[in-house]
Symmetry: D3
Subunit: 229 residues, 6 copies
């Protein structure tokens, strides 16, 4: 149930029986050998699956996020943090005006965490709103899967190498994690990270990826209940 | 050649031989019986076709634009004008930093016209940049096709009823264009426009739509040459 | 009935019987051989004439607009687009607070079009407000006059050469319109446009100018009725 | 030498021999029985006189300033302080780009003082710029004239009652200055100030006004020398 | 009664019987031979004394203000004017939300004067708020003390050389005030002011400083009554 | 070595031999039974200790941060996220201009995390800058101490109950952590958290607090080396 397949009349109909909305906040940035849109594709795939099971509506994904540190990798299109906060505010306000009340923000990118700060501000202004926040790779569920397979999750390593994020050959083996001295500039980051991966194994068996996906999907299905206690 | 199917290494390779980039600026707003994403889908389809013929890269589409007047139609997610300008500035600056120089902005939505103002400001700041702007429905080519078939193009009428923007049944016949008294509020607009169409025939033969599409595509192919005289 | 000739007590008195206000949004920018203030003088002359016939109040004109592309022509004083939008918002909000409800914005300059976007946002926030927008040179009335005389209206050509905008000698004859390749920087624009005119005949008989003026004035008088259907 | 009487070519010519520019920053606000545009008219008259004697160029006046406290007096059109700062920055930057280097800002309104803060920021960014600031009523010269006639200058009393700011009858006699308890809201200010004057004698002999004008003009002529020691 | 020595429960208790709050707005900037924090320390000492006598609460001091002209003196940490205004607005709004209504802003730094403009805007938005503003060195009381001792108060001269602002040796004697040609850049200011003092006597007898302090404290105690007539 | 005890001349001297600066970013918000300034006091105490051992300069602490969710607890003074980012940017830019290059930001408050996003943007703009970020309670060192004593660290529990943050009696025993359903509004947060603690033991033996402090101090001393590999 994506907006793109619906007219406004369909949304009006939906709002008669439900007030939940999922919104994917992604990024367009280097992911080593993987797709530049990893941070959109993964939460979007999860959201589609959750929508299929629950019928909860899915707003168009925001394909851009904050990645100033990756700007020297071609293809990284980064928003200023102030811009990103304004976008998400505008989208939530628009939907709130029309009757949506329970929002699940599916964040795909660590650099987007500051959005939470603006959402807290909105929560003080929009009466009766409920805002859930989910960042799949930070969840206990996903970390437990990694732990169970003694894998270390990191940017652009196996963690994000789903069948649908691979766009070319991926190296075998493992990369030593580079040293990170404070908040690096784009120039320093490119020097430090080389091919873009933060280190670890580049890819694992698809069964593990499937397990990861299911663990995360279960989280989302739970969050969509918007339980208050 | 969309970013989503590429890694940063592919973009780096591309930049060795080309510095052109297409960027679709859309909207998520009511389109009567058509998809809420009409203003993304149409320029995106044109851009994909142009990319296929020329190899010019296509950045991820911006799915949101400025539609304050449609906010009372559920499903319309509108950005403040200030937000929209900041987004497009950020995207162009990011790509410029990496070596892109010739940008073709494919605008899908009339409410996004103010973006041009910010782009002029950027043109004064980013040395050597070239920015083309194309709004398919405003082009002479498209208007000539409409004229040839004695059709009046308008919001959410036949003009936007492509096979790929239809998401349900569309009425037969024609709608009388409502009276527009100045800049209407969302509330007034909903009252005035009812089902959302600005009037005219709801749909026409697909051959005309195909003719329209080809006329517009020819414009884009021409603009991608970035001729200076 | 300009603000400059009135005290606040006069405005208070006016508001007992009327809630209309005209606001001129101009620009200070190169106009070839014509006054730098063409885009103020023309709508202001129209507004004065309309005020004389109707008694509708006229706020002080905004003498500045958005002209980033002309910044390499000395005397062009251009606002950032964000600044312009904020100004007009502040002026309208101030007057709204005091009881004005029906605003006719008389825009003198194409670069100011984005103001409409902010006005739509205001229309959603200020209950009962009505905002009309009129750009004289874009009106059917003016274009019909041009057509009737087989003249092509353009920036700094005959179209704007009123007796009251001429500040020196104006060339005879006609200028070939320069080629415009996308959104030009100030440097490119100066190269392309030379003396600043966008081409066409530099001046015509004052009778035509008078005809033009009257056609536009008739539009404004009509708009000041703020008819809703 | 006002911009309105010149074309861009005239400005270009001027810049070959001079780099000075005067800019009037005014306000549109209640002035008791006087014109709503007092704060424009007075510095503008001074600037015109100074321009006549020195040939220094005069940019179009900014007719709006910050007067939040007078918003309950109809006809007061007030900018947010952030808006005002942006405007003056934009105007100075535009002129600086074209070669102007020595700016004399003629402020007509106390509420505009914060502009100085932004100008200091600009002075750190625009190499070689010189920015003078003159608020006529705050000058020693003007205060000396008042003192010599044992008059107390204040908002909308005799101080601003020039022949060219009077728009109707003005009361005889004197008003007791109201008590001002901190920073008042617009509502409180209207209650406190009644007719809008801050108290004192409403008008004096035109000879005194002429003396005042000449004293201030002498200041401006001195400042236009932009002496550095 | 500083916030740092209290828990939220203490504040809640206080609000049952009082709604007054003092807020110190300071600066971190060069003060010649004196502490970089002079503009915090002086109003803070006054506020502490006033709090001790009245029990009025004292919010944490803002240690930063606007000092763009001193940025070439190391240790000067200056906020943009827009930033400063936003901070004070945020602090006042936070406290207002919790029940504070009468605010006394104790400004320690001339460059912070524009804060008043934003406070006037707030006064129009927050019903029932009362905002007092006090800048100790601009008060008649302090100027009278200076006059009585035939001393000229100025930046970083004796005026600010309290026992608690001295951090090292201070020169004997007097400095000739430098010439100030308009709004200087940081570079020009450093050249003009040398050691940072604006001239005059560097220090005076502590008895005078004590007299000064008492005079100013008396003002504050009076202002804390928030008398309306 | 705090700014308050130094003049600008001292800073200039320091910069001849060092370019490091510590900056504390705190908050003024409810901490249950503890001081409203916990998030300033703790990193400040650490910074003072680190300064004493290394001689590294310490800028004035920022006493305010982002705590929108606690605004219904009196005494919480919260900045908008946009304001906070601007402040820290201004402070870092000021010091960078004067020669500081290596910054260690000591964050005391989780709600301030978004500052990192702006710092990444600055790192791309200020050549040669190095920015370290340390949030004491998020460090492995501190978490290891907690683990060793089988204590769970949380907001306003034992973790922050240092001798210097206690301002009154603290309950014995332990509080059950409240359920947190997504991003709560200030109203919901107050209902959920009651006395303000997030649960766990209210206070522990001072030896543990000392151990915690030392562990964190060791981290800071290490970070002040600004090692690049």
């Amino acid at each position: 149930m994506r907006f793109e397949d619906l007219s406004w009349m369909d949304i009006e109909e939906y709002l008669k029986g439900d007030d939940r909305l999922m919104l994917v906040i992604g990024a367009c940035e280097q992911h080593g050998y993987l797709s530049l849109l990893c941070h959109v594709k993964i939460p979007l795939a999860l959201a589609d699956a959750a929508s299929q099971q629950t019928g909860v509506l899915l707003a168009p994904a925001l394909s851009f996020g904050c990645s100033p540190y990756f700007l020297d990798y071609p293809g990284t299109l980064s928003l200023r943090i102030s811009t990103l906060l304004d976008i998400v505010e505008d989208l939530v306000r628009s939907a709130y005006r029309q009757g949506f009340r329970r929002f699940l923000l599916l964040n795909g990118h660590g650099g987007n965490d500051p959005v939470r700060a603006r959402m807290y501000e909105l929560a003080n202004q929009l009466s009766g709103i409920q805002i859930g926040w989910y960042a799949w790779w930070q969840s206990h569920s996903v970390q437990d899967v990694a732990l169970a397979h003694t894998l270390k999750p990191s940017h652009a390593n196996w963690l994000e190498a789903f069948p649908f994020t691979r766009v070319g050959d991926i190296p075998q083996g493992e990369k030593a994690p580079p040293f990170v001295p404070g908040l690096m500039s784009a120039q320093e980051a490119r020097q430090a990270f080389g091919d873009g991966s933060f280190g670890g194994i580049y890819q694992v068996n698809d069964d593990i990826m499937e397990e990861l996906f299911r663990a995360s999907l279960a989280d989302i299905l739970q969050l969509l209940k918007f339980e208050k206690e």
